[in-house]
């Protein structure tokens, strides 16, 4: 009964994750944001130890066990779904798998990503990133097929391997998961957990077959507490009620065991304190600089540095962005125009061939759980923030080259950085005039330009600075004079 309740909740959360990660409709934006915010890694990146979510997950794990893994993790639940499907298709029965001695190596390597504040390294094994990359990758492959970019294929491939293992062997990814492993260390000392009553157990092995983590050993009548995610499957499968969740009977009262427990707790505390310390932040900065994204062949001044890609709005600067983004793809899923794509390290960048950044839209910065994209305090701030800089090559414009009316660029330019002004040699025609002061780099001009090659080039910038906003009307602008309609009852015809 309890195991079914747990599964229902987990499946519900998984369903909502799948829905909101495959649709950018506005009705899902609040839910998508709330779901993304429940995830441990995003919370850890956004606020370190000071994040309420991260702290809560750790405290709950240290007191009650790995409920996070059995309820909130969409990748975990998805593996269980596949495992059940695999059982239908004739998968071998589950068997206890003793923990591999080197099983801390991969999570530890991933943990180095956190230690050195290199989210992409961490993101390779991060559960929510794998889920997001996989689901978005599968979605894009379904829509675009073979035309999808190599990073999409890579992400989807890894996802497929995880799911294939799940269908054949259960939640195998979880043994390598850095979040699960960390929470397991906490669960090891938790006063509550699964208990197996050796006196009642008849050794039938039902629990061992039911366990998606393969952490119940029926022949020896024991279970691995750090690997147990409290899915309650074993309790549900037990005919004699030998398994239940509650305050755990102490396994050993030996002094050595108690000492180890204390040592564990001390070590965890020290590790987490490190993450919140300025030392970690220093590493972060140094490594980002070494990463070379801030190279500036076209640097035009002390303020703005050009990037080879455009960061989504809300990334204050490249350093902050690189140090926080875990590549979870929440922003990719949230973008209504679908212009956020992922680069080789699964971090988002804007692709203006697909559309352009909407003037009044803050979906991506709103949803980002890691605060790699910081939420804008208000919509006006978003409208003023420069994420890139456009550049007009007038010699390519169709008005100049072919003498045709156009104006597509000025039409979409939300800040009037581009305006149509009469041509000197053909006053009936208007051609675009560009004032970079007001350009926010939304990419509209580039996207709609009909010229081939395009008359615009848009380059990403760091930091994302504040512009003066809307270009004020020029008193001498065309159309300004008093209109014939404003006075009297007459019509001008």
């Amino acid at each position: 009964m309890l195991s079914w309740c747990r599964l229902s909740v987990a499946l519900g959360i998984l369903a909502l994750f799948l829905r909101t990660f495959t649709s950018s409709l506005q009705k899902w934006s609040a839910l998508r944001s709330a779901l993304a915010d429940t995830q441990f890694t995003g919370a850890l990146m956004s606020g370190g130890l000071f994040s309420v979510v991260a702290l809560t997950v750790l405290i709950v794990s240290a007191l009650l066990g790995r409920w996070y893994c059995s309820l909130l993790c969409p990748l975990g639940t998805l593996q269980e779904v596949l495992r059940r499907a695999g059982a239908r298709l004739g998968r071998k029965q589950g068997k206890y798998l003793s923990p591999w001695r080197l099983r801390y190596v991969v999570p530890a390597l991933a943990g180095l990503g956190i230690f050195f504040a290199l989210p992409p390294l961490f993101g390779v094994m991060d559960p929510i990133s794998n889920f997001g990359r996989g689901v978005r990758g599968a979605y894009i492959l379904a829509v675009e097929g073979a035309a999808a970019a190599p990073p999409v294929w890579a992400a989807t491939g890894m996802f497929a391997v995880v799911l294939a293992f799940a269908a054949l062997r259960g939640r195998r990814f979880c043994d390598w998961c850095p979040v699960g492993t960390l929470l397991g260390l906490f669960a090891r000392v938790a006063p509550a957990g699964m208990n197996m009553n050796r006196d009642v157990c008849v050794g039938c092995g039902n629990c061992e077959r039911a366990c998606p983590m393969n952490c119940v050993d029926a022949s020896n009548k024991k279970l691995d507490r750090d690997r147990c995610i409290l899915c309650l499957s074993c309790a549900g499968s037990c005919a004699v009620g030998a398994l239940d969740y509650g305050v755990r009977a102490p396994e050993s009262t030996e002094r050595r065991a108690l000492f180890l427990k204390g040592f564990d707790l001390l070590a965890y505390g020290a590790g987490l304190a490190y993450l919140g310390s300025p030392v970690a932040r220093g590493w972060r900065r140094r490594l980002v600089r070494a990463g070379g994204r801030e190279n500036s062949p076209r640097n035009t001044g002390p303020e703005t540095t050009f990037l080879d890609s455009v960061m989504p709005p809300g990334a204050p600067n490249a350093g902050h962005f690189l140090a926080h983004c875990i590549g979870c793809q929440a922003c990719v899923a949230a973008c209504p125009t679908g212009i956020i794509r992922t680069d080789r390290t699964s971090r988002p960048e804007l692709d203006y061939t697909r559309g352009y950044c909407q003037y009044n839209c803050t979906e991506c910065s709103h949803v980002c759980p890691a605060h790699a994209l910081r939420p804008f305090p208000d919509i006006d701030e978003k409208r003023r923030t420069r994420i890139a800089l456009s550049n007009l090559t007038r010699a390519r414009c169709v008005v100049i080259t072919r003498g045709e009316s156009c104006g597509a660029c000025a039409e979409v330019c939300p800040t009037h950085a581009l305006r149509m002004e009469p041509l000197n040699d053909a006053p009936s025609l208007t051609a675009p005039v560009f004032d970079s002061t007001y350009c926010i780099g939304c990419g509209g001009c580039l996207n709609v330009c009909p010229a081939d090659p395009k008359a615009f080039a848009v380059t990403g910038v760091t930091p994302q600075v504040r512009t003066p906003g809307m270009r004020p009307p020029d008193p001498e602008d065309e159309g300004a004079p008093a209109l014939p309609m404003t006075a009297g009852d007459d019509f001008p015809f």
Partner: protein
Amino acid sequence: MERREFLKKSLTLGLGAGVLFLPKGLRGGVAKALAEENYPDLVALKGASPEAMFDRGIAALGGIGRFVKPGQTVVVKPNISWDTPLDGAANTSPALVARVVKHCLDAGAKRVFVMDHSIEYWERSLDGSGIGAAVKSAGGVYAPSEDARYYQKIDLKGAVLQSTQIHESLLESDVLISVPVLKHHGGAGVSIAMKNLMGCVWDRRDYHSKGLQNCIADFLHAKKPDLSIVDAYRVITRHGPRGGSPDDVAEMSAQIISPDIVAADAASARLLGREPADVPHIRFAAEAGFGQIDLTKLKIERLAL
């Protein structure tokens, strides 16, 4: 009875009697032609809310029933291009769109679709303009327009536009009503009923690369609206078509209604202080025989409310 009046009446009566003896098909046509003689070619209104002006103006044209017959499917094409608020004047007034939809339904239309291939993200434009909610409350249906799969390729005999993809609702409907908002346009000069129809096609960039002015006029070869209702209540007079500053918007409180799209565009261009013949796409459409550009040749009813 004056001699002249007597002659006029006898002639009318005689013609009326003559019609009775005509074959059935022709009879309807002549009767219709006679009836349309009495309606103005164009109604210009000012001084009231957009929906009140429409009520009055369409009555002067003989009611919407002249254009929409019971059981017909109607497409109302407003401008829903931008995610800007009502006073930004970049989109058609939602109240006017709702009123047009309501008139069509009251006239017995089976379904009234509203569509626009909006420029900014469709969901935001629909919400921001207020047209999404207005159409829903009036009983109309917003036809999804944000994806290429809703558009079908057609061939047409335009000067430069030989084929384009137009929205499926236009192919499946009986009546098309263009409900633009009047505004300045940096590229096309003005944006009125004809330019508004650019939102019925999928590939806008194609227009820009083939020649914007010609393509705007060429669209009429594919589908000519049965009625054009130009919302000139708030008008962007510069930095159009998106505007952005309150200084760009003039409150004209006017409206132009005409079954002749070229006449509607010509009269509206004058409201912006532009000579119709100086706007290439209006001139092209007139030259192709789609309507009357010379406003002196039109029977215009001017109403100040």
